[in-house]
């Protein structure tokens, strides 16, 4: 797009600025629009689960526009701030929450190379930034000058910090299998048939996927771990005192995070943008076949990933409308006594599996495992080609020259 704008005669910096802006706006719309859709879906799903109809009228059939109407209502609502609240922090908190949720999307690939910013440490980045959302909640709880909010904030802080440990361990397993933290590469390595997904890589990854699901639900504060906003105990938890647009920012952040952890699960365990059947490959399309083919492949990948992530979100909704809520000590017990040890054991198991059975149990099912590790062990120069400059499918070993081993930067004359 930037080239296109440059081609139109715009100065380069302006073209880049516009391109970046468009990227940001697109991402923002993905989150905001996604939140609208998910809120509508949640209402319909909850209604289906509960034997009712849900929204039916707004926007014609099925109440399509219900969330939009709600959004307009929220916009029109009075922005209340309790007396005694810390004004600056109170106003700031929703944006902190939302920004954290939004920033994490930057490194999330939606399809091959369809990513805001391809990062070498994308997995880490996403988990790290997602963890920052808790600051908004803590601030909201503190600044609201309400005891219920404070309770919610303290719960959230304790919960999120604790669950980051098993979550990190779960996330590290696919990283270990792929040999890189680059989400694009991780997704790329699961291309092909469904059996290539890391979920089915070995029994340990299968187990750890469910640990990840548990931890992800906990880290985005969804039922049965929604203690920070437990409505029967804490009124509404940390956002008790919020109304109108600020409240909806918390809401959008929540739905954004839900989508994010689901998409992360899809990329890490469920083959990312690769469908269960390599349709594009079977019909002979690939990135290299031509521009239109590349677009088509990417569009297909985009659809795949969004479908998988949506499935994850729907799973969370299903859980929410089925299960009662845990108590705070039980939530912590689940984390410290179950999730963390299981994740640790599964991590070790996956490691040993990778070490001793890199090809899998069935000889006929040999998978392209270990190519990156070979590159590492051959010599000091073998770097995985998880490099933004590499493109195409061949992201296995970049046979770099051992002599060029600074490994930090490809130099070019100024």
């Amino acid at each position: 797009m930037a080239e296109f704008l440059i081609g139109l005669g715009l100065p380069g910096w302006l073209a880049w600025s516009i391109a970046a802006l468009v990227s940001a706006v697109l991402l923002l719309n993905v989150i905001a629009g996604g939140a609208l859709v998910f809120i509508w879906a949640e209402r319909k799903i909850a209604a289906r689960i509960q034997d009712r109809l849900g929204p039916t009228r707004t926007g014609g059939r099925f109440g399509w526009l219900q969330s939009l109407a709600d959004g307009i209502k929220l916009l029109a609502k009075e922005d209340l701030m309790p007396e005694g609240a810390d004004g600056l922090l109170f106003r700031l908190a929703p944006y902190v929450s939302f920004c954290a949720s939004f920033c994490a999307f930057i490194a999330l690939p939606f399809a091959f190379d369809v990513v805001g910013q391809r990062l070498n440490v994308a997995v880490f980045f996403v988990v790290a930034v997602l963890g920052l959302e808790v600051f908004g909640v803590i601030l909201a709880g503190y600044a609201s000058a309400s005891k219920w909010s404070l309770f919610g904030a303290m719960r959230e802080a304790a919960q999120v910090v604790s669950y980051e440990v098993p979550l990190g361990m779960c996330v590290v397993v696919p990283v270990m299998l792929a040999g890189t933290m680059d989400l694009v590469t991780i997704g790329e390595k699961q291309a092909g048939w469904m059996s290539n997904w890391y979920l089915f890589h070995d029994p340990f990854t299968f187990v750890i996927f469910w640990v990840y699901v548990t931890c992800a639900v906990a880290s985005v504060n969804r039922a049965p771990f929604d203690l920070a906003e437990a409505e029967s105990e804490l009124v509404a938890g940390f956002h008790t005192e919020y109304s109108g647009l600020r409240w909806s920012f918390f809401f959008m952040a929540e739905y954004g995070s839900m989508f994010l952890v689901s998409a992360l699960a899809a990329v890490l365990f469920l083959g990312g943008w690769n469908g269960p059947v390599p349709v594009a490959q079977l019909v002979g399309l690939s990135e290299g076949t031509g521009d239109s083919a590349a677009y088509f492949v990417r569009l297909l990948g985009l659809g795949n990933l969004i479908a998988k992530a949506t499935l994850g979100v729907l799973l969370m909704m299903w859980i929410r409308w089925t299960l009662p809520r845990l108590r705070i000590d039980q939530v912590m017990t689940t984390c410290l006594k179950y999730c963390t040890p299981i994740a640790a054991v599964m991590f070790a198991g996956a490691m040993f599996w990778q070490l001793f059975l890199p090809g899998g149990l069935l000889p006929g099912w040999s998978r392209p495992a270990g190519e990156i590790r070979e590159g590492w062990l051959e010599g000091p120069g073998g770097l995985p080609a998880a490099h933004p400059t590499t493109s195409g499918h061949n992201v296995g070993v970049a046979a770099t020259d051992p002599s060029d081993s600074s490994g930090l930067a490809t130099r070019s004359p100024r």
């Binding site: 509960q50 009712r52 005891k147 039922a223 029967s232 105990e233 009124v235 089925t322 809520r325 108590r327």
Partner: protein, 402 residues
């Protein structure tokens, strides 16, 4: 003092000096079942003291009762336990009948059993659904209300009202059941019976539900009696008492010939007349889970009773009979009668002085006594347990504040 802490497992060790906080739970709070206000003294998440403040719904019902005739007071009894208005009507009607030494006919007797037990199902459905809500699951609430709506439809057909019926009245009932009603009622019971399994799957046996309720808010047998608890709260603590069996003859006579087993754990087991889920290992007699389970058993028990009542009612060929006159003179004297309402033993006390207006009317509500045990149950629990405990008592503010 330290011994006390050592001995009491409910008191959790604390690690940081946190200041005790007074927190108002209610009167506007999603989980306090109306306008109950609980003042919690908390140390972090741990509740050290709970003080219920009631009276937000006080409507001087007893004072009003001193100014109207007994039959005119029937609508006010509707508003005591508004979730089981039929049972309230019944309690008051029986008390007045006791004072007047009046006995209703056979048909009215079976009609009363039929209606009261049906309302008990409705009340327990609300208690069950709302309890799920207290624990953070919304769907069972709607499943419960869906079935309750059908009961309300039946009531509406019988008396024209869906909540405040004023149907059972002194000397009988205001009207006979419309034709075809019994068939509809039977159809409802047939349709409702399998749904109970659904409730057991979603709540009673759900692992998280068990974790949240088993061993929480344990009310010992002695304490339950000492606090005057009654109904499922008392039976959940293992006290074998049900006014339908143990009460005064004017009330137990209503259930003459009816077969039912009191839903209480005797010798470590619950009645096995139907297939119920087994008691989880973590559950302690007298905890929230047992109170909830007793209610679930009573739903089935009431269904049996309704079926029996339908048969008997259908067999009665004589007319229902007229209720008392609106302003019938009360004899001098007093009468107190306790009936087994869904929430517990509902006692009415009436003093007559020879006129048609009672000298004194008193409603002893079960929720009032049941709620007074809150501060004992909530001592040392977590904040999240407070809704779980209060919800398991299944209170209705209408009859507490009167």
């Amino acid at each position: 003092m330290s011994n006390l802490i050592d001995d009491d497992p409910r008191i959790i060790e604390f690690d940081v000096r946190t200041d005790e906080m007074l927190v108002n739970m209610g009167p506007q709070h999603p989980s306090t079942h109306g306008v109950l206000r609980l003042v919690l003294r908390t140390d972090g998440e741990i509740v050290s003291e709970t003080e219920p403040h009631i009276g937000y719904l006080h409507r001087c019902a007893e004072k009003i009762g001193e100014n109207v005739s007994p039959r005119q007071w029937i609508p006010y009894t509707d508003r005591l336990d508004y979730l089981a208005a039929m049972n309230m009507n019944l309690g008051w009607a029986l008390t007045v009948e006791k004072l007047m030494r009046h006995e209703v006919g056979e048909k009215a007797r079976h009609l009363r059993v039929l209606i009261a037990e049906l309302n008990r199902i409705g009340s327990h459905l609300v208690g069950m659904g709302a309890y799920g809500l207290d624990l953070g699951t919304f769907s069972p609430f709607l499943y419960a209300f869906r079935e309750r709506e059908k009961i309300l439809d039946l009531f509406e057909e019988a008396c024209g009202a869906r909540l405040t019926y004023s149907y059972i009245t002194c000397g009988g009932a205001t009207a006979d059941l419309p034709p075809g009603w019994l068939q509809k009622c039977e159809a409802f019971l047939d349709q409702f019976e399998p749904i109970i399994k659904e409730y057991h799957a979603l709540l009673t046996t759900n692992a998280i539900f068990v974790k949240r309720t088993a061993g929480i808010g344990v009310l010992s047998r002695e304490m339950a009696i000492d606090y005057g608890c009654s109904g499922p709260v008392l039976r959940g603590s293992g006290v074998d008492q049900d006014m339908r069996r143990d009460g005064e003859s004017i009330y137990t006579g209503m259930y003459d010939g009816y077969a039912f087993e009191v839903a209480v754990q005797k010798d470590g087991r619950y009645p096995r007349d139907h297939s119920y889920p087994s008691v989880p290992k973590e559950a302690v007699l007298g905890d929230c889970w047992h109170r909830f389970f007793v209610r679930m058993l009573e739903v089935v028990q009431s269904m049996d009773l309704v079926r029996q009542a339908i048969d008997r009612y259908a067999a009665c060929k004589e007319p229902l009979g007229e209720p008392m006159k609106l302003a019938e003179k009360l004899p001098v004297g007093d009468a107190y009668l306790e009936t087994e309402a869904p929430k517990g033993q509902m006692g009415f006390y009436v003093v007559g002085n020879g006129t048609s207006i009672p000298w004194r009317v008193r409603a002893r509500s079960s929720s009032f006594s049941n709620l007074s045990v809150t501060h004992e149950l909530c001592r040392g629990c977590l904040i999240a347990d407070v809704p779980a405990i209060v919800g398991s008592l299944d209170i209705v503010m209408g009859e507490i504040d009167r």
